[in-house]
Symmetry: C2
Subunit: 202 residues, 2 copies
């Protein structure tokens, strides 16, 4: 109760808040370092907690799951996606709107290097890929109503087509980012995305 009230009022951060912030950052950095050094599956929660100087219990209180230690606020992606797409002008087609959403999400990364590091980790670790794909599925579901609103509304049955278009956009993003990682981050992902979409749409 207290924390939410303060945050809403914009009150100055208390010592606790600062400590939390610090600990959170420390944990995140330790985790990312260990992941890149020795791999995701080979790094145990116990090790991260030890090197970050907190107990396992506390670590799990900050980050509910090992996946979340990757950082990069993946949960925010969904918000940015839906916001961006719904803010596109009404005369924009489905493909333009989706493209704008993809671009907005890609713009969230801090630096090219960090993005490359995370993408590489993601594409090379089966368990991470699975988790990421699952999150993506949820995003796709959230996008459904937005996309349907932009299609010629023939009543009923548009469901499948809207789903397909969304999934295709993500598929192109996948193909683009995989190729980007394979090329060690050379070029621009959006260019690859456009190339992919062009190949698909003939």
């Amino acid at each position: 109760m207290k924390r939410e009230a303060k945050a809403a009022a914009g009150a100055p951060p208390t010592l606790w808040d600062r400590t939390r912030q610090l600990a959170s950052q420390e944990i995140l950095e330790t985790a990312l370092r260990l992941f890149t050094e020795q791999g995701y599956d080979e790094t145990t929660i116990a090790q991260i907690a030890r090197e970050a100087g907190v107990s396992q219990r506390t670590l799990f209180r900050y980050f509910g799951a090992k996946e979340d230690l990757l950082g990069g606020n993946q949960d925010r992606f969904g918000q940015v996606l839906t916001d961006t797409i719904s803010q596109q002008p009404a005369e924009a087609g489905v493909w333009e709107a989706l493209r704008a959403g993809v671009a907005a999400v890609l713009a969230l990364h801090d630096s090219r290097e960090q993005a490359l590091k995370r993408f590489r980790l993601l594409h090379n670790t089966a368990s991470l890929r699975a988790g990421w794909l699952e999150k993506r599925l949820r995003f796709q579901g959230d996008l459904l109503p937005l996309v349907e609103a932009r299609m010629d509304v023939a009543l009923g049955g548009t469901d499948a087509r809207a789903r397909a278009m969304i999934a295709t956009a993500f598929a192109c993003l996948d193909a683009a980012s995989m190729t980007w990682v394979d090329n060690d981050g050379k070029g621009d992902i959006m260019d690859l995305y456009d190339e992919c979409l062009a190949a698909v749409r003939g």
Copy 2:
């Protein structure tokens, strides 16, 4: 060693083989029943083993992971996919070849009811979805060389486009099967697939 030799020679199944077969079937049926009755995550390995009359250890020897208890030999999908696609006539385009592969995989299901049951379970359980998507990713990788062989070979850089086309085919299959499940198995999945692909390719 022995088993492979016998299998290759087509020798009559020994008592062991028959026992194995029986136990395997019993486990599979028990698992599928419990999954549909009380949900995948709510069913523990211990419970399945108990009700199937085997030890946990033995259960894990038959099926290496809980996922595999879904049955339907998902690992075979990849084989069927690559076989079917590589057997398509050389003059068939990429999209026709992919369509044939998808159709072949869908034809693997025993009955409409069982397929619907599995699909429903899959689409409603986060952990299962994740595992399935991960397998699919591997299939996509396996398909890459086959698809590239069917494209106009401009050397280099075709990578991304081939990946995108494959991923799009799967995306349409996804959209189709989701819609199919939502409609309680009404209609034909391949029709939905065609509709999806048509929507995507404009």
